[in-house]
Symmetry: C2
Subunit: 163 residues, 2 copies
DNA sequence: GGACATTGCCTGCCCGGGCAGTTAATAAGG
DNA sequence: CCTTATTAACTGCCCGGGCAGGCAATGTCC
């Protein structure tokens, strides 16, 4: 429980945030929120150019890649639930970017397909989003970039595999 | 456009995400979202123990620290807007955690104060939240932790200072 | 075949954020 | 003093997420 002193080896953990010796500004949650908010604001402005919001690109890209994703599989891959995905697809369908059609073989599932407009829009996404990402990664070396991504994956993984 | 080869010095940037050679899973936005979602889920469960959600702690902590924050100053410090903060304070007030009282000296502002319940609740926050943060940082060395925070601050700063 | 569980989709309900617009109060300048 | 700008708080509208519940279709087991 108490600090074993000695080498600060990995998996020491346990005490980055102890007692009340930290404030909101120092918290990893706050920093993550700030970083994502900054990225989302920029993405929002950039994606507005092709009529999307900062999160609507993800389902579109996954449909465009093929593999016939369903609402349920999209929800799993994007770590949300089917309810939120239904409403997301509602908005994308309302914008005329995709069509929904009941499957013949399994009448529970809805087949998703991009419209021509949806395909054109999706083609533009990587460049727009790439600009946003690159500008936010200014000053990062490739090694730092890789480590940054590794940190994010580790944190997420620590959450899904509770300790 | 094409890779300049040579040294991978800092501020090379520009081309972490180019063309369409990347997928949703690789995007820094997706990774940030996943990490924050994981942290938020855990925080949500932990904070439920004291009757809060994963974001309601921040205003409470800031009020508890003193300095007589207002809705507007809280919104600034938490990088949101006064509209969202008004509704957040509505919910906290409805839970009986704080009181609002029109200021006598400047009748535009509303003075915020924790109730006794609010103070007791706030006292528990650092320990609960610390548990969540530490568990998600398992495997991080102190140096990695510091670098992680630095990365997040750099990314957020790159966004606020457009390039 | 019939009971039961599972799966996919959809719908409320609530929390939460961004943005625009309104009102009231204060500050600044003529 | 009066006009104008600024500020604080609030409200409405929309997007978006988590959760629970419902329904229909499918799969499983007896």
């Amino acid at each position: 429980m108490s600090a074993p002193t000695e080498v600060p080896t990995a998996t020491s953990a346990e005490s980055f945030y102890s007692g009340s010796g930290w404030t909101a500004e120092d918290s990893i949650g706050h920093l993550l929120r700030q970083a994502l908010a900054s990225l989302s604001r920029a993405a929002e402005a950039e994606m507005r150019l092709c009529g999307l919001t900062s999160v609507q690109w993800a389902p579109l890209m996954m449909i465009a890649r093929g593999g016939h994703p369903t609402a349920a599989s999209l929800a799993r891959d994007l770590s949300t639930d089917t309810g939120a995905m239904t409403r997301m697809l509602d908005r994308l369908e309302a914008k005329g970017l995709l069509t929904r059609r009941r499957s013949e073989t399994d009448r529970r599932v809805v087949e998703l397909a991009l419209t021509e407009l949806g395909r054109q829009t999706t083609d533009q996404i990587p460049l727009h989003l790439g600009r946003v990402y690159n500008s936010h990664l200014g000053g990062f070396t490739p090694a730092e970039f890789d480590q940054f991504k590794a940190f994010l994956r580790r944190l997420a993984h620590n959450g899904s595999a509770p300790g």
